[in-house]
């Protein structure tokens, strides 16, 4: 999948932000500051008054959820005590089946950094749990772009790490955040998806204008807005997501939050109205002009022309196979010839969304007699992965 995310443009720190009142070691936040957890309600005695069954069930479910989340095939021994029908399916599973997926996505993640983010019902607080993603922050009734659309996850993560320390104050503004996102997204080509994912903690929004007008604009521009609410269902988000075709979820707890976030990693089905289906792509090599070479001199990359930040001159970079414009990172659309430039791993990563693995069939360990079968199983798995690898290369 191609998430175009982007490069750390830390906002100007001219204003002095008060530090978040947070423990030095957030993991050990004071217990009494947290809410009441009714841990005992989870436990239920069985007929004989024993808690064993419940405990085992909890353990099993946590294992199982891990498996589902990371796409690991559940190995037979994790399924030792499973009675398949006895467990509810993971809370969020929606499969698209055989539909066209919008593989090229332009996604803005809006993270609410308002006062309510300091609520401690997610450990250590809502902000630190959330900031594993995030591009636009909306706080103090203003929206600030933390990072631009681009594809390098590393930059993006580092920007977020800095943001963890920033203070959460004031009220968020959905309107400002969305209009900021729209300004960039509306220039994106029609065959890609335009998406905004909002992680909203606050229950209010403080808007300078009527948000329903903006929703109409979003609808016209086919921007898909999804919201993950951290506290409760807010009407305006319901309308917003319904109108723009996004999804709206509210988290139950940390793990559910993660599930919901992972849900957004999957590319959404492409709308039938999106433009072309075949796209020319270039696969530029990363060439580093070695310092030994005589004519090696550092050059500007195209992307610096407008952003103007970061180290301007560099030796290496990606060169467009068509026009030899230089870019420092991928994926990007060539500013000169308009060719979409990606690298092989990008395509490869997107591949498993197009052809997802079949869900593994659970087979109780009792049915498998002897280690021979287990080996066979393992071999089958290896075989499968090597086949996929092959396919990837064919595509490239």
């Amino acid at each position: 999948m191609i998430i175009k995310e982007d490069r750390g443009e830390q906002h100007s720190s001219a204003q002095v932000l008060p530090r978040v009142e947070m423990d030095e070691e957030p993991e050990r936040a004071k217990r009494w500051e947290g809410g009441y957890e009714r841990t005992w309600e989870v436990l239920k005695e069985d007929e004989s008054g024993s808690l064993k069954a419940t405990v085992e069930e909890i353990l099993f479910q946590s294992k199982r959820r891990r498996c589902v989340e990371y796409g690991h095939p559940p190995t037979p021994h994790t399924l030792r005590c499973c009675k398949p029908s006895a467990f509810p399916p993971p809370r969020v599973i929606e499969s698209h089946g055989q539909v066209r997926l919008g593989m090229m996505r332009h996604l803005f993640v809006v993270v609410d950094c308002s006062r309510s983010m300091e609520d401690q019902d997610l450990k250590p607080n809502r902000l630190t749990s959330t900031l594993k993603v995030g591009v636009i922050t909306t706080k103090n009734k203003r929206a600030e772009k933390l990072t631009d659309l681009a594809g390098n996850p590393k930059k993006h993560i580092s920007a977020l790490k800095k943001a963890v320390d920033s203070a959460c104050v004031g009220e968020p503004s959905l309107y400002n955040a969305l209009s900021l996102a729209v300004q960039t997204l509306k220039h994106m080509p029609g065959h890609t998806s335009r998406e905004v994912l909002i992680i909203l903690s606050s229950l209010t929004t403080c808007d300078p204008a009527n948000i329903y007008d903006l929703v109409k604009t979003l609808k016209c521009l086919k921007v898909r807005v999804s919201v993950i609410g951290l506290s409760a269902e807010v009407r305006v988000c319901t309308v917003l997501t319904r109108e723009t075709g996004g999804s709206y979820h509210v988290i139950l707890d940390e793990s559910h939050f993660k599930e919901l976030l992972m849900l957004h990693v999957k590319p959404p089905p492409a709308s039938s109205s999106s433009e072309c289906s075949l796209i020319r792509m270039g696969f530029p090599q990363h060439a580093v002009a070695s310092a030994m070479e005589r004519d090696a001199r550092p050059s500007f990359s195209m992307s610096h022309l407008d952003s103007g930040a970061g180290p301007g001159l560099s030796l290496g970079g990606y060169f467009c196979p068509q026009c030899h414009a230089k870019y420092s990172e991928l994926p990007v659309e060539c500013k000169v010839c308009g060719l979409t430039l990606v690298s092989a791993p990008h395509l490869a990563r997107s591949f498993h969304h197009l052809f997802p693995l079949q869900p593994f069939v659970e087979s109780p360990v009792e049915e498998l007699q002897g280690s021979r079968y287990l080996h066979a199983h393992a071999r089958a798995l290896c075989g499968y992965s090597s086949v996929t690898v092959l396919v990837w290369f064919q595509v490239l």
């Binding site: 809410g35 006062r115 229950l203 609410g229 506290s231 269902e233 807010v234 509210v250």
Partner: protein
């Protein structure tokens, strides 16, 4: 879908049905079969109206001779319109299923203000003005004068209706208020009179309580409705108060002054007529000698609904000689007026019964009981004879004469209280004579007597057995239905303590307590941070609300709340309140979030629904007891104790709890809706309070949600709100709280349905 309710084929216009609707129809059918009265409680938002309509319509079709008419009484105009729309849906379904055009006539009736299409009259703003103006255009002698004087303005719509409208009955169909107006415009007929005329032969009439309960209006409108009618009082939890209000009279100095003017005007008119047309007065005199024979005949033949202002005894006799001539009657009125004036000149509070009052009036001004009784009837006759155009001007004298009749007719059930000043402003003299009705059964008695089945229904009627007691009737069915839910979408929490363990209560002793007010503020503050969109908070009275809000302002709590949500306040002024409501809804709609501070028993608590995001939480600060120091209330309590063996405390608690239930019920208006119900007073945790909540709320209060602290409440609410925000689809409800026809017919389901109705 087509249902089989104990052998009756009922068409139900939806594909799915709630189990409680089915159960409700069963009970209703039994009531109709027994030709008796019923009390049915079913939660709001579970489709009471459509269940009622589909069953009764089916019944009417199956047994056209047993039930000829349905009279559906509701409270407000929007509610009336909603009922008619449901009915339209039902009729369309009938037409589609049976393929035949049915000849059902159903219509809504409202006041002239809502129905008038006369360009000048309908432009007037107040109902009274419209009535008065209409009367001055349509009164019979005005129209008679037009024959001699063509310049006399009349209402052309009424003229048109009068000349042709009565011959042609209104074509069958469903008529809402707007439909009536459209029809009227097309034909050039007056919709109001058309509707009033048409209710006599309509199959279904939808109108306000007052048309049946208020003796003055009922006499005009509902007198001739057929005996074999089914009367339904929807949202009837306040019916006793409506009855009492319709029978009570308050007289102030201003009333007396206006009455004096009225009498003077009458005097002049009589003088004038005497000079020009003495024969007319003689004719009236002759009629009065003959007595009210006509009315008597009518009542004996059972054509009319009895009027409690016109008791049976009067009809037997002729109008007494002392008030037969117009001048004598006016003299009589003057004396009566002077007497009342002297009574209002008191310096201390007087409370007396009707017989005491009669004795006093006889001693002081020699007015006998008998002429007093005829006062109302005599005045009507005089006004007719004198051809007074604008009845609205004579409201004062009508009021006084009604009072005279009532006070001399009923020795029991009324009390007279004369207060020289308002309790809140003891320095300003503002004497008021309250002639207050204490027995709601007086006003509603004719309804129970006349009509075959009367059904009283609402979302909050608990405890059920008290209504038959105070309304004095014997129901054949009494049942309370619960809401079957696929998810627990209501979350009643009783907050008894603040975070500092201070007991929260609005009781009189701790009312001014700083700690309580602060904790109430904290509760609202915390809730405003975690509840999305709208919160509605109810206080026990305006005074209490003002005090608390002022105190919150001083403590800075208000400022903190405003960071989370905007605050709107209900005031006694209707225009201000509707403005606040509008802005409140706007704020909820665009995500800003808002809090509406309002008052139990106010306009907001009764008529306004807060669906979905408009009310995600309702907070009830304190127990909404009625103002117990009021003398009228004390008298009523005494009466209830003596006559009906209802203890004061029981009645007060019942009254408080029904209002509390009304308030919190505002938030849940259907099964897909959800909302928190927070009772912030430790007294709610007591069994005698809790037990008086409706069953559908009670069953969700478990021991874990009693006497919580503010913190615990916040935790529980957060959890609840997150749970409720998870996607909820129709499939989840199917089979549990929503049934298809097949599911309904299964053996197991039928068994479960019988458990829903809880017989009281």
């Amino acid at each position: 879908m087509k249902l089989n309710i104990e052998g009756l084929l009922v068409y139900f216009p939806y594909d799915y049905i709630y189990p409680e609707q089915y159960s409700y129809m069963l009970e209703l059918k039994r009531t109709l079969d027994a030709k008796g009265h019923g009390v049915l409680e079913m939660p709001s938002g579970t489709g009471k109206t459509i269940s009622l309509l589909s069953l009764i319509v089916a019944y009417q079709r199956a047994f056209p001779l047993d039930v000829t008419k349905l009279i559906y009484c509701s409270r407000t105009v929007p509610e009336i319109e909603k009922v008619v729309e449901e009915l339209r849906k039902l009729m369309e379904f009938y037409a589609k299923e049976t393929g035949e055009v049915n000849n059902f006539l159903a219509l809504a009736l409202s006041s002239r203000k809502n129905l008038c299409i006369h360009p000048e009259v309908s432009a007037l703003r107040f109902g009274k003005e419209v009535d008065g103006k209409c009367h001055s255009l349509t009164a019979s002698y005005i129209r008679a004068q037009r024959h001699s004087n063509p310049d006399q303005p009349v209402c052309r719509f009424y003229e048109e209706f009068d000349s042709v409208g009565r011959q042609v009955p209104l074509p069958a169909g469903i008529y809402n208020l707007d439909d009536l107006k459209d029809f009227g415009r097309r034909k050039g007929w007056c919709p109001y009179y058309l509707a009033r005329y048409s209710i006599l032969h309509a199959n279904i009439v939808v109108y306000s309580y007052h048309y049946l309960l208020d003796p003055k209006i009922a006499d005009l409108v509902s007198k001739e409705l057929a005996k074999k009618s089914v009367v339904v009082f929807d949202e009837a939890h306040n019916i006793d108060n409506v009855c009492i209000d319709s029978m009570s009279v308050n007289i102030t100095r201003r009333t007396l002054d206006r009455c004096q003017n009225n009498v003077d005007t009458l005097q002049h008119t009589i003088q004038r007529i005497k000079d020009t047309d003495a024969a007319k007065l003689r004719e009236e005199y002759r009629r009065l000698v003959e007595g009210l024979k006509e009315a008597n005949v009518a009542r004996e033949t059972d054509v009319y609904l009895a009027n409690p202002v016109l008791p049976d005894e009067i009809l037997q006799e002729a109008v007494p000689g002392s008030i037969r001539t117009a001048e004598h009657f006016l003299g009589f009125l003057r004396r009566f007026l002077e007497y009342l004036k002297s009574r209002l000149r008191v310096q201390h509070v007087v409370q007396e019964s009707a017989p005491q009052f009669l004795k006093d009036i006889f001693e002081k001004v020699c007015i006998d009981r008998k002429p007093l009784r005829f006062c109302a009837e005599r005045l009507q006759s005089l006004l007719r004879t004198l051809e007074i155009a604008d009845i609205a001007d004579f409201s004062a004298v009508t009021l006084i004469s009604n009072f005279a009749t009532l006070v001399s007719t009923y020795s029991l059930g009324f009390t007279i209280i004369i207060e020289p000043f308002d309790d809140r402003t003891p320095t300003i003299a503002n004497p008021v004579l309250h002639f207050s009705c204490m027995d709601p059964s007086i006003a509603i008695k004719p309804v129970f007597q006349r009509f075959q089945s009367v059904v009283i229904t609402s979302g909050t009627l608990s405890p059920l057995d008290i209504y038959p007691k105070i309304l004095d009737f014997r129901p054949v069915t009494m049942a309370s239905f619960t809401m079957t839910l696929a998810r627990t979408c209501l979350c009643p929490l009783i907050v008894g303590r603040g975070n500092d363990q201070v007991a929260l209560s609005s009781k009189f002793e701790t009312r001014e307590d700083f700690a309580v007010i602060r904790n109430y503020g904290n509760l609202l503050l915390e809730m405003s941070a975690i509840v999305p969109d709208g919160i509605v908070a109810f206080f026990t009275s305006y005074v209490y609300m003002e005090n608390i809000v002022a105190s919150w302002y001083e403590q800075g709590i208000l400022e903190n709340i405003q960071r989370n949500k905007l605050i709107f306040i209900e005031t006694p002024d209707a225009a201000e309140t509707s403005m606040a409501l509008e802005k409140y809804q706007e704020a909820c709609e665009n995500g800003r979030g808002a809090i509406l501070l309002s008052v139990a028993r106010g306009k907001v608590s009764e008529g306004i629904d807060f669906v979905h995001h408009f009310g995600r939480a309702v907070i009830m600060f304190g127990v909404p007891y009625v103002y117990t120091q009021s003398r009228i209330l004390k008298a009523r309590l005494e009466y209830l104790r003596d006559q009906f063996q209802i203890r004061e405390n029981d009645f007060l608690t019942f009254d408080a709890m029904r209002h509390a239930a009304q308030c919190v019920g505002r938030a849940i208006r259907g099964k897909t809706d959800y909302g928190l119900m927070i009772f912030a007073d430790k007294r709610y945790a007591r069994a005698d309070k809790r037990g008086k909540l409706p069953r559908w709320i009670q069953e969700h209060i478990n021991d874990g949600s009693l006497n919580l602290t503010v913190d615990e409440t916040v935790q529980l609410s957060k959890h609840f709100l997150r749970q409720m925000a998870q996607p909820f689809r129709q499939e989840d409800q199917l089979g549990l709280s929503l049934l298809t026809l097949e599911q309904l017919q299964s053996e197991e389901m039928l068994k479960r349905i019988t458990q829903i109705a809880h017989q009281a």
